[in-house]
Symmetry: C2
Subunit: 209 residues, 2 copies
């Protein structure tokens, strides 16, 4: 959902987007790829790239990528970094995105990270993206200028739902559950955050029957 | 050769190393993997990881990964960024390395980048590694502390050869050619830099018959 609303924001900002899907060995990769393709079709995005960084699953240590670690029930009050954290995942994603962006001459990477109303992953903080932008500036050709734009970073899930509806984003194609690929489990952190967002926005989640 | 001397430096510094090999779709990947395993055996390194980021070859734009772009003859006077530059490659490598380092609790990543006596890749500058270190600090768990150590960054190839010999590094197992996997072509930038280094050090290159 965050990626979808982020894509809608990029289009609103006047960009002609290309879409990048990442397989990092997550349990729900296949379902997410379906969502990726449906959202790309909705926006008539012609240029798509699927990148496999499933070495993150080999490295392990996250319940999202390791079948031996159970996806825990939601605990939105937890202030520790949860077991769903995939170590330095977003740097791996951004690095691939920057390589592609530099070759095709893209000016911006839109990333649907959420800092506040989230699970507290360190690589979702704006200060991380600021530092990474500096690394892009130093590590690419002099003429390459790539911004990282995070339009949701300070929004609550309620505000993300509202923004998605305002932008006419196809939320019915999105998938958030960490655990299942058929029916959202309703119990993981991601399902809980999504449910709270729709609830607070006073809107029915279109993927829940 | 740079990676090998860097490993020797890490051991000299008192670290117990683990070895990471990266397949980024380079022409000489198979030969480099052989070198990786031989050097790991030499140093009795038990923990090794091979990571595939060959999406960099799909993204293309470099003669190292795209068979349709010829590896040019060496031009060490060229001040532009050469066609062998693989866009933002080192960020992709570092991101995987950091993910692994965070999980196993490693304190440092040794990286054999050379800034001065090199082909002029932007992602080999120390200022890039400094910026990336900041991104590591912001994008990983609070208790994670990972330094990027680049012991060769300001050395010439001559000094790298001398350092390798002083540290008893197994230079006979190393491979530098961008083009061939059997006999070094002797013509690419990497062969030319290596030959100049051995020549200036007054030492015979053990991989040249």
């Amino acid at each position: 959902m965050d990626s979808c609303v982020t894509a809608a924001a990029a289009i609103k900002d006047g960009y002609q987007p290309v879409f990048l899907h990442i397989n990092y060995g997550q349990r729900t990769e296949s379902r997410e790829l379906t969502a990726f393709n449906e959202i790309a079709d909705y926006y008539q995005v012609e240029r798509k790239l699927v990148v496999d960084i499933s070495h993150l699953a080999d490295i392990g240590a996250s319940c999202l990528t390791d079948e031996n670690i159970e996806v825990p029930a939601a605990d939105l009050e937890n202030e520790d970094i949860p077991i769903s954290y995939v170590p330095f995942r977003n740097a791996n994603i951004l690095s691939a995105a920057v390589s592609w962006a530099e070759v095709i001459g893209a000016e911006a990477i839109y990333f649907g990270a959420v800092e506040d109303d989230s699970s507290g992953y360190p690589d979702c903080r704006r200060s991380f993206f600021d530092a990474f932008e500096r690394a892009i500036d130093r590590g690419t050709k002099p003429r390459t200028k790539i911004k990282i734009i995070t339009p949701l970073i300070n929004l609550s899930k309620k505000e993300i739902v509202e923004k998605g509806i305002a932008l006419n984003a196809p939320l019915h194609f999105t998938w958030s559950c960490y655990k299942n690929e058929d029916v959202p489990c309703g119990e993981c952190d991601s399902c809980a955050l999504r449910a709270r967002g729709f609830d607070q926005a006073g809107v029915r989640d279109p993927i829940i029957n």
